[in-house]
Symmetry: D2
Amino acid sequence: MDNTYQPQQLLARSEKRHRARMLISCPDRPGIVAAVSHFLYEHGANIIQSDQYSMDPGGGMFFIRFEFDLNDLERELPVLQEDFARVSDRFEMKWSIFRASRKKRLAVFVSKEDHCLLELLWQWQAGDLEADIAMVISNHPDMGELVKSFGIPFHHIPVKADAKAEAEKQQLEAVTGKVDLIVLARYMQIISPKFIEQFPNRIINIHHSFLPAFVGGKPYAQAYQRGVKIIGATAHYVTEELDGGPIIEQDVQRVSHRDDVDNLKRIGRTIERVVLARAVKWHIEDRLLVHQNKTVVFN
Amino acid sequence: MDNTYQPQQLLARSEKRHRARMLISCPDRPGIVAAVSHFLYEHGANIIQSDQYSMDPGGGMFFIRFEFDLNDLERELPVLQEDFARVSDRFEMKWSIFRASRKKRLAVFVSKEDHCLLELLWQWQAGDLEADIAMVISNHPDMGELVKSFGIPFHHIPVKADAKAEAEKQQLEAVTGKVDLIVLARYMQIISPKFIEQFPNRIINIHHSFLPAFVGGKPYAQAYQRGVKIIGATAHYVTEELDGGPIIEQDVQRVSHRDDVDNLKRIGRTIERVVLARAVKWHIEDRLLVHQNKTVVFN
Amino acid sequence: MDNTYQPQQLLARSEKRHRARMLISCPDRPGIVAAVSHFLYEHGANIIQSDQYSMDPGGGMFFIRFEFDLNDLERELPVLQEDFARVSDRFEMKWSIFRASRKKRLAVFVSKEDHCLLELLWQWQAGDLEADIAMVISNHPDMGELVKSFGIPFHHIPVKADAKAEAEKQQLEAVTGKVDLIVLARYMQIISPKFIEQFPNRIINIHHSFLPAFVGGKPYAQAYQRGVKIIGATAHYVTEELDGGPIIEQDVQRVSHRDDVDNLKRIGRTIERVVLARAVKWHIEDRLLVHQNKTVVFN
Amino acid sequence: MDNTYQPQQLLARSEKRHRARMLISCPDRPGIVAAVSHFLYEHGANIIQSDQYSMDPGGGMFFIRFEFDLNDLERELPVLQEDFARVSDRFEMKWSIFRASRKKRLAVFVSKEDHCLLELLWQWQAGDLEADIAMVISNHPDMGELVKSFGIPFHHIPVKADAKAEAEKQQLEAVTGKVDLIVLARYMQIISPKFIEQFPNRIINIHHSFLPAFVGGKPYAQAYQRGVKIIGATAHYVTEELDGGPIIEQDVQRVSHRDDVDNLKRIGRTIERVVLARAVKWHIEDRLLVHQNKTVVFN
């Protein structure tokens, strides 16, 4: 590592030690905001930001995100969490609290295309991605040196057509208990349902089309064939249905008849890496809630 | 009116009779969200949406918008407003409450270009602009028939170079006490400071450039001259400084060396009308707060 | 017409009397540009603009558009067209020449949604759409007064479930020989193959989704259901395959989980009208070539 | 270099050995396209693409770009260039011809921000930037190791306030005769007129605002102060006037009141690197012509 590029980890812009984030889903009814904000106030927490979304005020689901500061967070948080039961029981809430200073650990899965991984590494070293990249796993050895030059462990786990289960077993061993989020950064293998159920709404994939257009393989060739005038990319949580999971973020760019498939790929690379990085950023900042195969994005 | 086009005023999608919106600005400190949401809950109000913005959690300004339903709003609101004094005093709040069913009344000022006025009329007749267009005022007679065909009063108030004060006096007479918002829909006359102070943050202008680029006259000619690759439009509240008031919304479109000034104008027209309509919509839905020549947009 | 709004038909910005446009498709091989541009020069034509596209220089199709000025165009054009046979035969060209001053005649088909029709009418009256709107045909009477107030003939041709053929017969009688282009401006009926073959690549439809996503009915409901973060609209030539014809133009806008189906429709309306108007504009300016279900757009 | 990341230089998608590009500016008059295309045809060149722009057909400037294939280009080109004099004299043309296989050599100037440099390096290693990065020059040593890990020479030339002329002298020695284009990739020093005149229209700068808004220093702080709703970046050729040279490319992104200056910088970084990379790509593909402080972009 002595003669390679050192990531210039920026110091957090503001002191994050006392910052926590809370995500809540529950059936909608009067008094939720009042109850939670009053609860937080009673416990000495100062609400920095709150976002809420009511699917249908007449009786749907209600989603809320609070960001708050609490002195001596490490010691106070367990108390606050225990006390919160009386609020959450009353409103039948599903909820979680995250400490902002406790960085999420990522495993990035790649194959041969490097642009999405590079974007994550660049944003990480620039201090824009507040996570730990715990490891990179690839079915090809190509990116090993690059990854190691960033001081990140690299696991080469080949995936052979007749031994996929074995490869997944190795992957699971590598990640279980060690990562909070798996990012498929143009990883070109199907993940099995068994693997997915270990990481519900914790695997983010980038699909190189504007879903639901062009599901499956070779989306740029499909886009060229159809003659679309705009191409896109989609970051989504992985579910059992191929390219069918909850969409987190999408973006697009204009193309023309002059753009052949290679050009679409080239243009698409920039869309893919930006879209994936945004989705990962929102996940690690606890801005995403999933309900019925759709995401609520509090950004 | 019998043989002219009837605006198809859509019914409100949901019952708005009991809906109110509250806008608050105050110095930031702990407990604001808790206090207000608890207050609303106590008074039987059900919070439908809340948005907040903390300029600087360490001690800046705090802005919040609540949208809530309250049974028997018409009778209960005065009580709620009176009671709120104890909360607002405690936190030194500036605040307002608006009933959603009480449509704001607009005066639209135009000169000879009709596209921005037409967009407002179209959105209004489509039921997308929940306001009453109380009158259109123009320094030219050209659009009189069009405006009247929508059943809207039209005032032709010529503005002569040597009698501007007299024209403004007539305008003021027409609007005072009769409108909540003045929209300058490509109105090509300068408004005097005296007029502006009657409508603080209640006059919205559309400027046909991406401000602060190309302040003043002939912005498309300036844009052509400079060779920009993107043009834009800016909706802002009118202040004494020409094109210098708080920006509400901006949008842009790509252009090329092939676009001459006429083309820039043509392309710009679509940007202008969309940007102005968005800004007006946000104002009439009470989504805008102004602080130190900048807007907070809760949309 | 005396008391209704007069469209302010702008004078053409430049004298169009001598302007012509030429569209050519042929197998690619050396010498095409040289041959055509030399031919035009010999005949006294001054090339104002040329655009070309070579699918595959190694042996695909070649497309070219010339815009040129020719003195005394009306008299000279027949000569030029006759002489061009020797060039076109040599290169196996499919070609057409259009006089810019000869405005194309449009029939606009509508049902109950008026926004796309209104956009076309506005652009037409602003002088931005250099066409004659020869008639509006609708299966509902609702827009009759509006259309007539612009001085445009309106045909109400009801389409009953058990008498579609009869309705199409009436439509064909109305348009045959009288229009150059049919614009389906949110016309909610399927057009029969028999009708379509009378107007090959001369029927433009606006589909209210980002094709090929959400083919068929209720695309905004489908988009809401899938939880997309961007919605779009697509203008395409109509072919026998539903929503499957050559795409002319697409555009999109960002949405969020907060946007319900009604909101998506509202946002979508602005995309639809802008996209359709662009596609129509390109068609009437002879900027579109179709090859194998895709468009070449020389804009 | 043995254990560092190897740029995966892709093979050119099509054989570029026989490809050349021609850029011409001249006063507009009839026969230019015919004369040049006929000349190329006579010399056995096959036109692959042509673009032209006529500022004012009635008598302005005319710009044209041809891309063509010519067998045995290396031997034939000198002949073709010599013969072209008779065409260029007749039409008073300024013109140049470039061989596509002859990659342009770049010097990239940087200070402490690495994102623009990194983008160029990634695009270069992905084979998307058909140039040789001949050297990187910086007034700080920080990026030395990174640059060398790509196998690219790095010159650390400190710029002291009292010895700017000396630093420029060293820079000129490093680049003169060795590079075709200088890219200021967030290089935070003013370049002297004397330096600029050595590289007319061959120095590209990225300015971190949507010019002409926010000329000069700290544009993100200026943008925050003004409360704009969209920020941008501008790539332009460097002239003596600060941030006043011909604009090559611009792009923008939406921001909100929530984005503080640090956030604007973070968002802006992605705009800057994409905009700069596009401008550099167009320059090295000979797609840019400059006329009266504006660019013609044939892309």
